[in-house]
Amino acid sequence: MTIIKAQQESWQSGMAKNITFIVTKDCQLACKYCYLVGKNVKERMPWDVAKTFIDYVLDHETDPEFAEESVVWDFIGGEPFLEIELIDKICDYIKTELFRRNHHWFNSYRFSFSTNGINYHEKAVQDFIQKNLDHLSIGITIDGTEKKHDLNRVYKITEKGSYQDVVKNIPLWLEQFPGSGTKVTISSVDIPYITESVLHLYSLGIHEVNINVVFEDVWQEGDDLKFEEQLMQLADAIIDGGYYQDYACSFFSEHIGKPMNLERDNHNWCGAGKMLSVDAAGNLYPCTRFAQYSLRDKDAWIIGNIHDGIDKNKLRPFLTLDLTTQSPQKCIECEVASGCAWCQGENYDAAKTHTVFQRATAICLMHKARVRANNYYWNKLYRKLELEDLREQYEAKKREVKPKIC
């Protein structure tokens, strides 16, 4: 089996244009925390839509919207690998056209996938992986222990848990993408399983666990205290078990929990508007979260289509967003603000008006709980290292997961 080079989570971070194909709105699963409220089997991207979109993007090479040095072609669903034949055709066409046009993205591109992992082992998917191995990022989502995973990640008709069908593909995935991380999502019912789940993922050989709480307003009274308790247990387990040396969990970061420097940090968290997404109908979005299937209460924020191109007026709100304009005063003045994230799509969906300038704050208490546990983690870890005279050595080679900016 070919060993594929170690995955770099933030490949060309900040220098790459992120372009997303919503190839299907279908998925084998019906995850209970999934923000996609409009999944269906009908909206599969036709080839001519994909081709017209690629032509549009590549025809506008010199436009400011496409000036980035590199590109990440992202494929999302539903479950993207349900459309592996289309994806293979798209990727072949992109490669051919980049070469034919001598495009500045030639040899500076990557194909990126976030998959539920269920059909990862199938021949069509594996053939695709082998064919594109030098330009591939694939993340498989596995939520932790079987119990925790199957609590949410269930098949859409039978409601059977999907853990067994995913975990069997983890060794193959890690063999092909050593060093890969997984993405774990926490909602209210998952809180009691956080510690065991992270440790379980470590035991599967996954060294990097990117984990976040859902942005939606799903939290119950007292969840923050339960969350803090779980994270402190996790901190103890990581430190006492020595996992901190070779493993990482994004919950713990030295950069979170500080007041914002409004001069330095008054920028937007998310990349909506800098990214570009296209769906099966050929409509363009500032991010997939603004497509109708992602929105509960608002209309889709369509910024154009593959025939007429981007209506740049519709991008202006996104590209002028900053922290202070969209945040309520309590966030601006928050003593532990740094690291408190938001999703622009959820902000829009939850806003009182048709705006991206109203920050949703449903995770406020959860962030504060995380900060308390995070402080505990670093105080405990550094004290241990100091007593063992290992702090300097640790700091020189410490591994940290940076929060993934979408």
């Binding site: 608002k298 519709k314 202006r316 002028t320 008006t353 705006t355 300038f357 109203q358």
Partner: protein, 330 residues
């Protein structure tokens, strides 16, 4: 802070800004609603601005209308006759074509860009009449890059006329060119901030255009947490309820708060139509406002060659027409 209450006396009240009034059926504001609106204005210490339709109102309205100090906005040639001639000199006449004479001290002239070009000489003749001329382009969304030079040119031509009037010791007022030379800070429409509109249905709207949109079922939901409110922002029974009011203020408009095209209307209705966010102007609005700003700068410089004029005003030379292009430097 709210200062003005705009009262639409009828569904067909004259459109006096960017938005056309598509409502064709007479629907007079009930007298009781009008009285309550006036009472609201009195309690909130708001100046009342009545917007008239082009037909004569029933006589019972005259006394109620004149029960409070007011400004009248009316279609040109349809001066409202009420029982009290208060001689108010800030009444506003509204025309959709260049008139030959203007009776009020204020004229709102609503034209498309192409109509403006065709009638530029007739417009210039208005400057000498003594009335303040507010030219409102009603198809801003159609303004294209190819029209930038044309717009610069026509403003330059009007500058020549205005300069000659200044040389004669006159003080013509033309919103696109003479407002900016007297402004030290933003002076915009400020719908929802310093003025609010009461419609014939007894509900409040950010401006008349939001009422028109609601009636025409265009984009008719402002408060998504209260869907039944459609586009309204309160009513006479419960008072004002403006969702996300902070987004109407200058400090919550990232492009505008750093801008010095102080004469710009900053039309939030156009913002919503073209960028979908109330606090974000379209490229068209920004570019047009900056062409006006730069032409105003040229006018100011020319006036200063012949007289001392507003020495405290400084309009800097800039190399962009759309602040969006330089947003990273803010």
């Amino acid at each position: 802070m709210l200062q003005y209450l705009v009262i639409l006396l009828d569904d067909t009240s004259v459109a006096y800004c960017h938005a056309d009034n598509p409502l064709k059926e007479h629907n007079l504001t009930p007298l009781e609603t009008l009285k309550k609106g006036i009472l609201f204005g009195m309690k909130q210490n708001l100046m009342i601005q009545y917007v008239f339709p082009n037909y004569e109102l029933p006589t019972a309205y005259a006394e109620v209308i004149e029960s409070i100090d007011n400004v009248k906005i009316y279609p040109i040639g349809c001066k409202p006759v009420t029982s009290i001639e208060d001689g108010n000199d800030i009444d506003v006449e509204v025309a959709n074509d260049v008139p030959e004479k203007v009776e009020a001290k204020n004229l709102v002239l609503r034209l498309t860009f192409s109509e403006m070009l065709k009638q530029k000489n007739e417009i210039a003749k208005l400057f000498v009449l003594g009335a303040r001329v507010n030219l409102c382009i009603i198809d801003v969304e159609q303004f294209a890059e190819e029209q930038i030079e044309t717009y610069k040119q026509v403003l330059n031509e009007w500058n020549t006329t205005l300069l000659n009037l200044y040389k004669q010791g006159k003080s013509p007022q033309f919103n696109l060119l003479t407002d900016r030379i007297m402004l030290e800070k933003m002076h915009n429409c400020e719908a929802g901030v310093n003025n609010i509109t009461l419609a014939p249905n007894g509900k409040f709207y950010l401006c008349p255009a939001f009422y028109y949109d609601e009636q025409m079922k265009v984009f008719n939901q402002l408060n998504h947490h209260n869907p039944s409110s459609d586009n309204s922002v309160g009513d006479l029974e419960k008072g004002l309820d403006i969702p996300n009011p902070q987004l109407l203020h200058l400090d919550h408009a990232p492009l505008c708060r750093n801008c010095d095209a102080y004469q710009c209307r900053r039309c939030i209705w156009l913002n919503r139509r073209l960028t979908w966010d109330l606090n974000t102007p379209s490229r068209q609005q920004c570019v047009m406002a900056h062409i006006e700003r730069n032409a105003s700068r040229a006018l100011l410089n020319d006036i200063r060659k012949v007289s001392k004029f507003m020495p405290e005003i400084d309009i800097k030379e800039i190399n962009y027409l759309d602040p969006f292009e330089v947003r990273k430097e803010f």
